[in-house]
Symmetry: C2
Subunit: 235 residues, 2 copies
C-alpha cells in the first residue's frame, strides 16, 4: 500500500475517528458526564484532551492542576467537572481513547502484506507513522503508564507485550520459511520496539537534526532487515 510511504492517511484516519471515540467515552463514563448534547461533548472533550496532553507532557500528569487545565482550555474549573468526575477519571478516558484509536487503525493495516519481509516492513512503518500522528498520546502513555494504579498499569504492560508479540510472530514466520536468520525472536522484537519508541520519546532530538519520519522509518527497516536477512547492502 503506497499510502504507507507518508502519514497523511493515518492523519485522516485519526481525525475521522474522533466522533466514534467520544461515543465510546460517553458509553463508559456515563455516570460522570453531565453533558447531554453530543456536539458540545465532542467539541469540549477534544479541547480538554488536547490541553491535558499538552500540560502533562511538559510537567507530568500529576503536576497538572485543575487550575492549569482550566486556563489552557478556557473553561472554568466548575465547568470541567461536567465532563469527568475527577483527575483519575480523566486519565482513564485519555488512555482508553488512545488504545481504541490505535487498535482500530492498526487492525485495518494488519495482513495487508503476505510475505514476512513486507509484513515486517509494514508493521514498522505503520507503528512509526501512527506514533507520529498521535505523538502526544504515545508520549503521555509511555511516561505516565508506570505510575498509575495497578489496573491501568497492567493494561499498558499487556499492550506493550502484545505489540512485541506482533513483531515476534512475523519474525518467527520468516524463520520458519527460511528467509530470516534464526535468532531469539522475542529479543529481536524488543529491540525493534525500542527503536520505534525512541522516535516518539526523543522527538526533540530528531526534530533538531531535521530527520523526518520517512527517513527514520527507512533507516530502522534497513537496520532490522540487515539483522534478519544478514544483508549489509541496500536492498
Amino acid at each position: 500500500m503506497d499510502d504507507l510511504s507518508n502519514f497523511q492517511w493515518f492523519s485522516q484516519k485519526v481525525t475521522l475517528s474522533r466522533q466514534d471515540i467520544c461515543r465510546d467515552v460517553y458509553k463508559h463514563h456515563r455516570k460522570a458526564i453531565k453533558i447531554k448534547k453530543e456536539k458540545t461533548l465532542v467539541r469540549n472533550l477534544m479541547r480538554i484532551f488536547d490541553a491535558a496532553l499538552k500540560i502533562s507532557n511538559e510537567r507530568g500528569f500529576q503536576a497538572m492542576t485543575m487550575r492549569s487545565l482550566s486556563r489552557e482550555t478556557g473553561m472554568s474549573m466548575g465547568g470541567l467537572y461536567a465532563y469527568f468526575s475527577g483527575k483519575e477519571d480523566l486519565l482513564e478516558m485519555l488512555l482508553r481513547t488512545g488504545r481504541i484509536t490505535i487498535k482500530q487503525i492498526l487492525e485495518e493495516q494488519v495482513n495487508q502484506a503476505t510475505d514476512p519481509e513486507s509484513k515486517l516492513r509494514s508493521a514498522i512503518r505503520a507503528h512509526l507513522f501512527l506514533s507520529e500522528v498521535m505523538q502526544p498520546w504515545f508520549y503521555f502513555s509511555y511516561m505516565e503508564a508506570r505510575r498509575l494504579g495497578y489496573a491501568e498499569k497492567k493494561k499498558s504492560m499487556t499492550a506493550e507485550i502484545e505489540t512485541e508479540k506482533l513483531f515476534a510472530r512475523i519474525i518467527e514466520e520468516g524463520m520458519n520459511r527460511g528467509v530470516f536468520v534464526v535468532r531469539d525472536s522475542l529479543l529481536t522484537a524488543s529491540v525493534i520496539k525500542a527503536m520505534v519508541q525512541d522516535w516518539y520519546v526523543k522527538r526533540w532530538k530528531y526534530a533538531k537534526r531535521k530527520v523526518s519520519v520517512d527517513r527514520y522509518a527507512s533507516f530502522v527497516v534497513e537496520c532490522v532487515e540487515s539483522f534478519c536477512l544478514h544483508m549489509g547492502d541496500k536492498k
Copy 2:
C-alpha cells in the same frame, strides 16, 4: 578486559566512589547542608538518595512528598531539611552525583581498546553494565529529566547527545578504516542508544523473561555488528 564480561567490577567501583561523591555534594551545596560530621553526612545522604530514588521511580519525583521521604528514610521531616534546602535542591544533588559517578567510571574504560570493532563492543557493554549497577539512577534521570527547569534539562540533553557522539565517533572511525559499512553514523548511534536505554527502562520486562545483562549485551552487540559489518552469522 575480561572484567567487562560481568558487572562485578562496575558494582565495586560504584560502591567505592560513594565517599568521593558525598564530598563533592558537600562542596557544591555547602550553604544548604547543616551537618558537620562527615560520617553522619555520608551515611544519611545515602539513605536519603536511595529512598528518594525508590519512591520517585514508583510514582514520580513530583509525587514524592516530604512525608513519604520521611517515612522511607526513618528520619523526621525537620531532620531531612538539615541535608538539603528543599526538594529542588535534593533533585539537583541526585542528578549531580549520578553524572559524576558515570563520568569517573566511563573515563576509566575509554580507549582500552584500539580497533573500532572492539571499541564498539566495549562501549556497548560498559554502558549496559553501568546502567545495570546504577539502574535506579538511570531510570530516574531518564524519566524526570524532561520535566525539570531549563538548566537541568539542558544538562541532561547535552549528556544524551554526548553519549551518542561517543558511539558515532567509533562508528565513523570504523567507516574510515573500511571495516564498517558506510551509513548515517548519528542515526546508527541513536538506535544503539535506544537499545541500551530499553534495558534499564523496561527492566521489569527482561526480568520477567529471565534475560540477564550478559545475554542482552551479547544480543545488542550481535545486532549492531551485523548492521555495521553486514555479517549475519556469529562472529
